[in-house]
Amino acid sequence: MKKKALVAALAAACSLATPAWAGQTLDTVLKRGVLHCGVSDGLPGFSYTDASGNYAGIDADFCRAVAAALFGDAKKVKFTPLTAKERFTALQSGEIDVLSRNSTWTISRDVGMGMSFTGVTYYDGQGFLVNKKLGVKSARELDGATVCIQAGTTTEMNLSDYFRTNGMKYTPVTYEKSDESAKALESGRCDVLTSDQSQLYAQRIKLANPDDYVVLPEVISKEPLGPVVRQGDSEWFNVVRWTLFALVAAEEYGITSANVDQMAKTSTNPEVRRLLGLDTDFGKDMKLKKDWAYQIVKQVGNYGEMFERNVGKGSPLKIERGLNAQWNKGGLQYAPPFR
């Protein structure tokens, strides 16, 4: 009892001695000069390491975009590969500044776990990948199947909901790493691999014979994937959120990494000029440089470029834009006005 009291007294003494730290992520990162970014441990199209150890993919590029906005240098990122299991703890603890690791935005994660989702980089939904040999055409035929899942994901929960509401049974086999679940599907340990559809396409190209496998038509959930920051630090939240909006807006206004210099010189469109920081300095209010958005587009490209390069037509995944097209082209990507 005495010891407890002592500890409490000491804790109280310490709290008097140290100032509050709240909301200092931005200052810390700027002072450190490097962005600590949590990414996936190997998911083609989103974040994976190539043969020489460089990270590529949408999620990795988003980290680079934030670094470009912060420092004017997209290379100043330290990537931390995380399993699905580790990711939120790493963010909560402060191990990373931003988590950009195909994480689904849900209410429980937003309100109860000390995190805030800053937006949606990819609108996704959960699907199923099966071997063609099984002859399955629809997810409704999966009663009694063995299903491979990644531990610690929303897909674990959705899967259970879906099978229960449809009165079907399943056996879950849960792995920590996506590589391992793909390997398990290939070897026949499970009949079905379930995950976000984008991930399924990514997993498929990692298989020895991708053409033997097919993604079933059903999408059983909404999976808005986006970058996450710690709760209660609105300054930092704004930087990450508006980095994403700058990427999206740049595509809407037709600014690309190729033409951004020319646009900056010649464009008379007031929206373009405001975005690139030519007329108004939004950067100052975020403690950033005036040309923050220019640096993002110049070094990383706009949202469309990022998409096509990593998961779209220019990539082995060949995913359609679908929900991820601009709002005026039938999609959901929509940036608030830069005004």
Partner: protein, 395 residues
Amino acid sequence: MTPGETLRGGGPRRWLYDPKIRALAAQILTVLAIALFAGWIVHNTVHNLTVRGIASGFGFLKNPAGFGILQTLIDYRETDSFARVFVIGLLNTLLVAALGIVFATVLGFLVGIGRLAENALIRGLSALYVETFRNVPPLLQIFFWYFAVLRAMPSPRQSHEFLGAFFLNIRGLYVPRPIPAEGFAPIVLALGIALAAVIILRRWARRRQEHTGEPFSTGRVALLLLFGLPLAARLIFGAPFTWELPQLQGFNFRGGWVLLPELVALTVALSLYTAAFIAETVRAGIQSVPRGQIEAAIALGLTPRQRLRLIVLPQAMRVIIPPLTSQYLNLTKNSSLGAAIGYPDLVGLFAGTVLNQTGQAIETIAMTMAVYLLISLTISLVMNWYNRRMALVER
């Protein structure tokens, strides 16, 4: 001045050299430093949790889990609470630890005795076994069995079939499940009676030997009792079980019991790894028995089996048990590596999935560590008790 005074040193600084005061000061400083450090950690954590708006406390345990689990030893539905998931993870850990301990002990004793066998070939093979298995990391061995060996099994539709009731495929080993029938209770009763009779018989035999010196071989009578009584019950009351056979339905076999490849790989790897260490312990234990004891036993005319059972093993056990305990503890802790191959043990399930679904890192990790600490303390307490019973009583 007497020499004593010089040694102690005079003046007001004498207390500086007083060993009692020094000891007290050292202890107070240590406690203070540790308390300060703990206070600092607690303060940081509390502060970080509040700043980041992370809920704390154990209330989350009541919430429904909402996900499926591969292997549950007790009934589980997705709507059950996280607390139940914790129990399931714990039971899975205990299961693999218990299986591993049994197999590792049996194999370890065999190999350990084999290392001292007269037969040179057996000796060599045992040594080869020990050196191979104890020098390779357990995680690698688990991966090897799981990803290289068990992954080579056929798909459910091409299962290896034995007797039309056992099926082996990549999803595991399917065996018939016994369902208690009418004859179940009488047979259990008969077995109980037989066991009690055997124990009484053995006591009587020992007492008789102590009094008269005449040995009485209980083996055959015991065998007769243990098999005869249940057999009689079976003949009178009918079959104790009906068997539920596994059958291929759709994607998988249904019915029967299944031994999952995750469990098999983990058990096999841990047993083989730990058995190598146990073998060395057993060898050292047997070698510690003085040569004279064995020579005396030979002189008394004991058979080799009797020598081993009555003279060597009881004495060797004293040396073997303490290191054996720590091997059991290591095995239990190593079972947490099952998380890497998807076995739903405490670490994989609770400190993994539950941690991630709830975000309660501190609580879940603390609970997990507490369980392992508790297991390790319990095992060492039990072993210490046994050790004390076995300890040499010198007259």
